[in-house]
Symmetry: C2
Subunit: 243 residues, 2 copies
């Protein structure tokens, strides 16, 4: 499966994107992992991302500074409470306040710039239409529309099309149709150490252990989906939760 | 023509986007002007943009910090010389090194976030397919593809589509088919003071006048198109060029 081609992987250090990174590496891609410092309150994920990327053997881990706080409008960047203890119905009913305006559009646009300059033709993103059906920019139609745009937006995409090629740039969303349990099973099969990953939207202060590292709150939507995923996958959950 | 709706205008303080701003204001939009600090060597344009936006009466001028230097690959952000003294054929032959990878995709993605949170349905962008035919992300097909994406990417776009509406978010590119001379004539008719605007990719140090402000180099592609535009429009060029 070694292909030696370069791929860009949008990478937050979370459960989903770490699984995507493992998939891209297993396919033999040389990976440019791309994370964002976008004003997220859970910026601990950037330290996690750096550690996980290094451990898994990416070619480069780039962190782009993009200030999304000036747009406001999301509990992840603005002064809005992160919802806690919601049940599954509440989570999937409508679009949650943790939706960051146009976030995946922005992330993919930046990934396209990195792809264009690093020679990558494939961009991997860990979106999932099942567990997070409330996010519009996590659906197949969105991914397809972005791929179309990418091949109209770029020097190389346009040149390839002029020579009759179709879709030089490919947006890969391998988790699209998977449940959280299936994602975890796939990652375990690829040797992912999920104990290193970070999912929580609202990090809890460290509990005074030797590292004093922040822990998962255990109550936000993301923590609840993580817990449920491990339970349904029948895999021991390596995460330290405050609750 | 007063419509009172909010619009986002991508705004660099240059000749084109200042004309677009005048067009949006003349249509009665309340304008959220959006500029970017993206590592451009000609960051003097941000000071210009702030002055022009204030003078013309926008509702808000937002400046987003987005680091595009980590992608490299362009004479506008990386250590590559800005081409000088090229003739018209050289300028339109292929894609110039001043092309910034995925720049308009990135700019429109950020504009979409601002539109979503400010209640704007229209996003104005000063792209032009005639004078800059070498840039792939300045063509009608690109703009159309982005509009399609915008309405799949956003909470409100998706909700409107679910209720049968078509393209809630509109990307307006009023300069698309205009020559530089026509753009200038349009702006003059709307009262634009082009002496305030900035086009140069490679600002020349101030010439020791009372303000010591930087001046246009007069030799980069953008300066040459600016000079030519005023000449062809039959309008006195208010710009101070080093050459």
């Amino acid at each position: 499966m070694v292909n030696g081609e370069t791929a860009v992987v949008l990478f937050s250090g979370g459960l989903d994107s770490t699984t995507v990174l493992a998939i891209a590496l297993a396919k033999g891609f040389r990976v440019q992992a791309l994370s964002f410092r976008y004003g997220q309150r859970h910026s601990v994920e950037l330290d996690v991302a750096a550690r996980v990327a290094r451990r898994m053997g990416v070619e480069r881990h780039a962190v782009a500074d993009i200030d999304l706080t000036i747009y406001g409008g999301s509990a992840l960047t603005a002064d809005i409470d992160v919802p806690k203890d919601r049940d599954g119905d509440a989570m999937t009913d409508g679009i949650p306040v943790t939706y960051v305006p146009a976030r995946n559009t922005i992330f993919l646009a930046h990934a396209l710039a990195l792809a264009e300059t690093s020679g990558a033709r494939n961009i991997f993103i860990g979106v999932n239409a099942l567990d997070y059906s409330g996010y519009p920019d996590c659906r197949p139609a969105f991914i397809k529309a972005f791929q179309r745009l990418a091949n109209l937006a770029t020097k190389e995409g346009v040149e390839a099309a002029a020579q009759g090629a179709d879709a030089l740039f490919q947006i890969q969303a391998p988790l699209m149709e998977m449940t959280k349990a299936e994602i975890i099973q796939q990652g375990m099969a690829l040797g992912v150490d999920y104990g290193m990953t970070w999912s929580c939207y609202d990090p809890h202060p460290g509990t005074g252990d030797t590292t004093n590292a922040p822990v998962h709150c255990g109550r936000c939507d993301s923590c609840q989906l993580r817990k449920k995923g491990f339970a349904e996958a029948g895999v021991a959950d390596p995460t330290t939760y405050a609750v």
